[in-house]
Symmetry: C3
Subunit: 401 residues, 3 copies
């Protein structure tokens, strides 16, 4: 990025008023967007999927954002490896399908062949001094967190050690290793990715915008009501690992460590799960023995969010396509032994968050339309937007680095 562009972004950051929504330029300027890709999306751990999606050697799926595509594959030795989906010859995409199974990776253009560890195995008719060992696929860092697959495109990824230590018990409890992906939906949103992330980060809009959610989640209540319900809920379950409170998100993360957050919140009206009427929708997860009327919020890295009911889990991620379009991918996980049609029905499982995400898509689009106006000016944030405020503080600092 040129000095001129960097100076411009530095000025935007300096002009931003704390406690207020971001200025228009952060949502529209292509140079800001490029800086975000470099400073955020290429440097942090991103939630790509779950090991259950690639059980066998040769199984792979791709993970795409902006102009990038990553191949995540199970190798012959059973490891999960990730590489850029870009041939080292003339740059063609190698895996064209979003998932599949291949003994090795053959570029569809000139048939250069790589093994699942990314090594170039064969390349026809190359000059004698061509060195295959220097032409493997670009490696991408992979981390497996009890089955959850994270990737980081940076060569020096932030450490996951604090997160792993503190969340280990939670991963065990809910059986992250023994989940399977039941359904995945992609919501294409014609808006800047931050408007989508910010929307996820605050429940100030839940009461007016999400009647289905607000009937079940105490979080949609005014702050005082919610905090009282939460504190009662926590006290009744004191000491249980499910009720841990881990606040290492954004500016609260230690230097060099990836941020994270974990928390359990009460549901309303004896709801047991995130579903129509709060009814159970699948067998209990992991070593959970009974419904406790709560749901856990889990954040791993700045862009990946999980919502854990006793009988299913949702994975949320927000990925940019361009400065003015993003994708919200929602995944529904259940116990790996649960049988679709028998132990759970897809429609019941996905109803609440499909309805809610569709409503959010509309909200976010209309937010973008207003932000595009010359008359938009950053507005004061409410008390219920403190988590978003924490994200914005971190975002501005990270962009400035």
């Amino acid at each position: 990025m040129t000095r001129l562009k960097l100076d411009k972004i530095t000025q935007y950051i300096a002009a931003q008023r704390p406690g207020y929504s971001l200025a228009q330029a952060f949502y529209k300027d292509v140079d800001v967007y490029q800086a975000e890709i470099e400073h955020i999306f290429l440097k942090h751990w991103l939630y790509a999927g779950h090991a259950s999606q690639i059980p066998l050697a040769g199984d792979y799926f791709t993970f795409d954002f902006d102009t990038e595509s990553v191949i995540i594959a199970r190798t012959a030795s059973g490891d999960v490896k990730a590489h850029m989906n870009v041939c080292r010859h003339r740059g063609s995409k190698i895996c064209l399908e979003p998932s599949g199974s291949q003994k090795s990776l053959t570029c569809p253009y000139h048939a250069w062949n790589y093994n699942l560890d990314g090594q170039l195995i064969s390349a026809r008719n190359m000059p004698d001094d061509f060195d295959r060992s220097q032409n493997g696929l670009h490696k991408v860092n992979v981390a497996l967190l009890h089955g959850l697959i994270f990737v980081c495109l940076s060569k020096e990824p932030p450490s996951l050690s604090a997160l792993q230590n503190e969340l280990d018990e939670v991963f065990e409890l809910f059986g992250f290793n023994n989940m399977k992906l039941a359904e995945k939906k992609s919501y294409r949103i014609p808006a800047n990715w931050k408007l989508a992330v910010e929307n996820y980060q605050e429940c100030y809009h839940c009461a007016p915008s999400h009647p289905e959610f607000a009937q079940i989640h105490a979080m949609a209540k005014p702050p005082k009501v919610f905090q009282m319900a939460k504190s009662d809920f926590a006290q009744a379950n004191q000491g249980q690992p499910k009720f841990k409170q881990l606040n290492r998100y954004f500016d609260l993360a230690e230097v060099g460590q990836e941020g994270y957050q974990y928390d359990r919140n009460p549901l309303l009206r004896n709801a047991l799960s995130g579903s129509a009427g709060g009814k159970p929708v699948a067998p209990l997860l992991g070593s959970i023995q009974e419904y406790d009327g709560g749901a856990s919020e889990l954040m791993i890295g700045p862009l990946s969010y999980f919502l854990i009911y006793d009988d299913h889990m949702l994975g949320y991620r927000f990925l940019p396509n361009s400065v003015d379009e993003c994708i919200c991918d929602v995944s529904w996980y259940v116990n790996e032994s649960a049988v679709q049609g028998k132990d759970y029905q897809l429609e019941q499982l996905t109803w609440l968050w499909d309805v809610t995400t569709q409503a959010d898509k509309k909200i976010i689009m209309n937010n973008q339309k207003g932000v595009d106006s010359r008359y938009y000016q950053p507005g004061r944030l409410s008390e219920m937007e403190h988590f978003q405020q924490s994200f914005l503080t971190w975002y501005l600092k990270t962009l400035a680095e």
Copy 2:
């Protein structure tokens, strides 16, 4: 706008040859487009609609161009007020539908609630020091000209006093206050807005391009033939207010006053109205007693044009979406007491100018395609393009300001 961009535009203006069509850059350069929005669309009065569209308290419609959206509403006290359609919290659009009826304006995102005068009435869970009185919607100036609603986004709009004094009689005569909107059509044109405005401003193209129009309007004839017919027509009706000639358009407007123009032109072959065969299509307007075989041209501000037959009126406006796309909105007005299906048929009423505008849309698109060529060079304007020439002179001066 940066100094570099301003210098570039200044150079374009200096290089423009009088009496010739505009250079390519004026139709393609995004920086010119942004300067146009600032110097023209945000500073002048724009025709938004008619009071009959919002008869009751709470009725509203939106008026959109480029990235802007304005809410025009009838307040509890019966006034017409206009505000930017942008929430002061995080910027969401507030009114999502193009028209409707609301007791107050509630943002669909976090339910901030404004009254129709734009005051912020409620905002949940805001910090104690949050001042609602400082967070009303941005006000937009409104002018009612005998029922026609104009808005101006500038805080210092040009004066309408000269226009109101001189046109008052005309407004009265045709009963502008007692019209109603019979039909409205939007024509999306993939071309720069000026190509659409210029097309409207000259009748050099009428004879070859608009056989339907040319059969009825003397204006499509060669200048000498037309001027003779017009002068005969004016003499036969001398002294009547219908036959006023007001030439205060573009560079002829007084400093600080919005420009305007009024004129009456003869129809051909005993035509009485702008319709198939020149036949009447609706009850006479206002206090008009009989058909006189003429039609009035009315311009109010640089971008709004009206064509007044004895029995109906058309409103034309040209609004940009982006540098290479504009909207031409055509509205058909009739006497408010006329009953659709009985006193007038929509198809007969709208036929002539729907056919003509569709033909113009094609012409304008093909004009843009040619202007996009590296081999386009500004061409000499004909005698029949003098009004367009007047617009171009004003345009260049206004852009330079």
Copy 3:
């Protein structure tokens, strides 16, 4: 183009490593694209069509790329003339249809009328001092190569004399003057035009990507196998004009001369033509007496390629729409006396190269996707990409001029 942009392009060129595919910027930077239009597309001879498409006076077709459109017409005197499709008045496109027949060219906007030699014949109501003789259509150079129509938008086109001298015999042999266009298909490819051209220039991808082609063409074999087959084929037919070898392409062209190349290659498995099973698909071309089991490659100028079987010829051209989209136009020519349905079937005639071009479209799109990645890096070219390498060397030199 500004000094800043030129410097940037100069740096790109300097950084490019010989023997490797181009850096990303060459495929994505809009300024590079504009330089390419100026230095390549506006300066070289482009294959527009064939004289058989406009047999009669008044017949015309248009030839379009990027923002440009050229009218190619048969004049009253029987000549083929070309002019820019841009009216000298306000710039409208004149010919809106891709082909037709007109006694003269009348602009659809204001009816300015030009004869087929481009002279402005009439323009209504222009000022007295308007000089029609100065307002003819912009002329475009035309060259007829035995029926093939080439245009060059530059006022100083490269010379075609060397090419004409050396290829004359070939044109005669295959009866270029007595061909007719049997079919034409346009393939819109969302990729930079160079990725499409490079794809055409190498057969390294033929074996893995084009089974239909590889069954018939020896060229798809590894270099040593192919060279041996070719040399055997040449020796068996020594001295025949069909077996000329003309290598004046790209950097091998003489200064001031347009580049060209001609070569004959063997087919496989007794194939006689480029078709399913290598079966004949049309009457023999020109003065060809019998099938020889070969196919000729012909390049005329840097962007136009022909493939000549004994019974039909294909014309290929690659034209850019924008930096990230191009068109591949494929034309099938047969002997002018051949009767469709009787002497040839369109489906049989077009099958091989329709299948092959559709496969190439996919390949090229996926190449662009990978090239768009931040992790794309130019890769080493193989021995089978030497012709492409020659193009790249010329391209970099031409862009730098």
